[in-house]
């Protein structure tokens, strides 16, 4: 199992001074640029430490928000491409359906792959609902735009002999010729996220790495849909490294300290949904059927414990989050067991995206969390033999 260390690079000092919304419409006057600079340097220092401790790294972006200061993944990737030496650098993700210019995306990512000496993992995402009011991208049919941008970026990265022409529904170019081309051939690995089974099957057919977040003990059906698509297309079982899971992690010598850290890391979940209500569901983001069900007041819970109890990811207690496989928290032995239990349930899972810092967790606690995990948990995860999915009860 590979482990990617991730933080959202929050501007947590603003978390307690908002009036109902941490995203989109929280005025930027509440963030001090000097403090923001200090935090950025701290987060990059922690990623450097993670690199030295044997982690891979994951970066992301959100917009107009105190939950995540990174507003373009390209800045983070650029810094890390040179500041780190061994880690693979995963962007999860790049909201390519929002970007006006996928040629620019292809050029940026190819250059980062070259500078990092082939360490880039390229995650493309739709983006959360709150990104649409910020980018002004129409949420209706954004996935059509996403897939055209995806097709274009891959073609731009894999065309080497002559400029090519592109006149699509959304994007138009006449002389596409990306310099320099990426070092990983034919292109850096593609990752993406989903929460629905038909998309999961499609991703299996494409063979991309599929990540889920917060799905806990409701993850297996998504992975199984992925595996079915993979098997149908590739005529062999999907390797465990084709799926990834984002889990929060808090580890410490003793359980009391681990729970204290767990509470702070869970601050990510508690803060992430604090958004002015109309921005939570822009028109067209969900399907018409889902929106009609919501209008009728029917919305299904997303997160479940192993024994089928629904858990609210944003308000659940630390114990709820542990039971739901959303937070891995405890002593190194406990955390190892929680992760491996979860992996068995999944029928295999080859990439743990570890949110090892969030919110008010201090630098010292973060480094301690990372160090202890790398010494006492990661070796056991690396040595772990992934189950064969067919051999595990779903």
């Amino acid at each position: 199992m590979q482990v990617y260390y991730f933080t959202e690079q929050p501007y947590y000092p603003a978390w307690n001074s908002h009036s109902g919304s941490l995203r989109v419409n929280l005025p930027n006057s509440v963030a001090d640029p000097k403090t923001a600079g200090d935090l950025f340097h701290r987060y990059y220092d922690e990623w450097k430490i993670a690199d030295e401790l044997g982690y891979n790294i994951m970066v992301n972006e959100h917009h107009q928000t105190a939950t995540c200061m990174s507003s373009t993944v390209i800045v983070g990737l650029s810094v890390l491409a040179r500041e780190t030496k061994k880690a693979r650098i995963l962007v999860l993700g790049y909201p390519i359906g929002h970007r006006p210019d996928p040629l620019r995306c292809a050029e940026e990512l190819a250059t980062i792959d070259v500078i990092s000496r082939g360490r880039l993992d390229m995650g493309f995402i739709k983006g959360v609902p709150y990104e649409f009011p910020a980018s002004n991208q129409n949420p209706v049919a954004v996935m059509d735009r996403f897939w055209e941008a995806h097709d274009f970026i891959l073609k731009a990265m894999t065309s080497h002999d002559a400029p090519f022409n592109w006149e699509g529904e959304f994007f138009h170019y006449r002389q596409v010729n990306v310099w320099p081309r990426p070092v990983q051939q034919p292109h850096p690995p593609v990752w993406t996220t989903t929460g629905n089974k038909s998309q999961a099957r499609l991703l299996g057919e494409k063979g991309y790495v599929m990540a889920t977040l917060g799905s806990g003990y409701a993850t297996r059906p998504l992975y199984d849909a992925y595996r079915a698509g993979y098997l149908a297309k590739w005529k062999r079982p999907a390797p465990a490294d084709r799926v990834a899971y984002l889990g929060l992690v808090a580890v410490a010598e003793d359980e009391t300290e681990a729970r204290r850290r767990g509470e702070l890391v869970a601050g990510y979940l508690r803060s992430s949904a604090i958004v002015h209500v109309p921005f939570r569901n822009p028109p067209g983001f969900l399907t018409v059927d889902d929106n009609a069900r919501m209008l009728r007041g029917q919305s299904a819970p997303r997160s479940f414990t192993k024994d089928g109890r629904a858990v609210n990811m944003h308000h659940g207690s630390v114990q709820d989050l542990i039971d739901a496989g959303i937070l891995f928290c405890g002593t190194p032995d406990q955390v190892t067991r929680q992760i491996l239990d979860f992996t068995e349930y999944c029928g295999g899972m080859g990439n743990l995206l570890m949110m090892g810092h969030a919110g008010f967790l201090s630098h010292e606690d973060t480094v301690s969390n990372l160090t202890m995990f790398s010494q006492d948990v990661m070796p056991r995860l690396k040595a772990y033999k992934q189950p064969v999915p067919e051999a595990t009860a779903a």
């Binding site: 949420p139 209706v140 028109p283 067209g284 018409v288 059927d289 929106n291 009609a292 209008l295 007041g297």
Partner: protein, 275 residues
């Protein structure tokens, strides 16, 4: 009155439409173009307008149960769709009445081809940019809580308040489709076509702007400026109505539309020269 709901196929696209009064072969055709919230077959305004002609009130492509073809993404596309519909039904001397988004569609139709049209009524219409680039002419409806929208859009917010939870499935699906289709057409540029202002001089039809004066999604100033862009267009306020005057004041709305339709041409539109 389900017998008045029909479906028609235009260019391979099936849409639903309310058709009232077609039994009278000589009736004046009235094309009613609904706002973003869609159209209700039992809306009193349709029956009142039907006293003065044959009312055809389609659900726009993507709204209600009407299909939307791939590639139809702008009000411009919808306007061409309605020109095809008028050709297909071979309607002549059509009175086009549009509210809100429907008013914008009406203006786009009239700038492209008014050969089949007689007169134009635009009520609380969106569609043009009036203020400077930093002035938001039209309230961002997708940044509002539902109760805020009701407060700004209606003279009496209680008229707009819906208990969606008790809606039958079909109605909740229509409401969800209406919301999505409005965004498809109006998300950006927000609720307007930057090209339309420069094309409005092509409208030579007698034109009436009706304006629900309690509308706070749009301002009266916006309505008067828009009206001023169409040569000879008249502006008539409707009191005790907001963004949807056809719902809040259906009698007054229908009375003014039909009076305008019946007025002699010169009176309906003094032919002003373009400024």
């Amino acid at each position: 009155m389900p017998d008045t709901i029909t479906s028609m196929v235009v260019n391979g696209v099936t849409i639903e439409a309310i058709d009232k009064g077609r039994e009278n072969a000589n009736a004046r055709p009235i094309l009613f173009l609904h706002p973003g919230i869609g159209i209700d077959a039992v809306a009193p305004v349709l029956a009142l307008l039907a006293k003065g002609g044959r009312v055809i009130a389609p659900s726009h492509p993507g709204f209600g149960t009407s299909q939307i073809p791939k590639g139809m993404t702008t009000v411009d596309d919808v306007a061409y769709f309605y020109l095809d519909l008028l050709d297909q039904l071979d309607l002549r001397d059509v009175l086009v009445v549009g509210v809100g988004l429907g008013g914008w569609i009406a203006a786009e139709i009239a700038t492209k081809n008014s050969a089949r049209l007689s007169r134009l009524v635009m009520a609380n219409a969106v569609g043009v940019k009036i203020g400077d680039r930093e002035t938001r002419d039209i309230v961002d409806i997708w940044a509002l809580m539902p109760e805020e929208f009701d407060r700004l859009a209606w003279f009496d917010p209680k008229v707009g308040a819906h208990d969606y939870k008790s809606l039958p499935e079909a109605e909740s699906l229509s409401a969800a489709r209406n919301r999505e289709a409005t965004a498809r057409l109006c998300w950006s540029p927000y609720m307007h076509n930057p090209k339309l202002k420069g094309r409005l001089h092509r409208i030579k039809l007698p034109t009436l702007f009706l304006w629900g004066m309690a509308d706070r999604i749009l301002s009266e100033q916006y309505g008067r400026a828009y009206c001023g862009l169409i040569a000879g267009a008249k502006f008539e306020p409707i009191e005790k109505a907001g963004h949807f005057p056809h719902i809040e004041q259906p009698e007054e709305f229908a009375r003014r539309v039909l009076a305008f339709a019946d007025a002699p041409a010169a009176q309906a539109a003094p032919r002003a020269r373009r400024a």
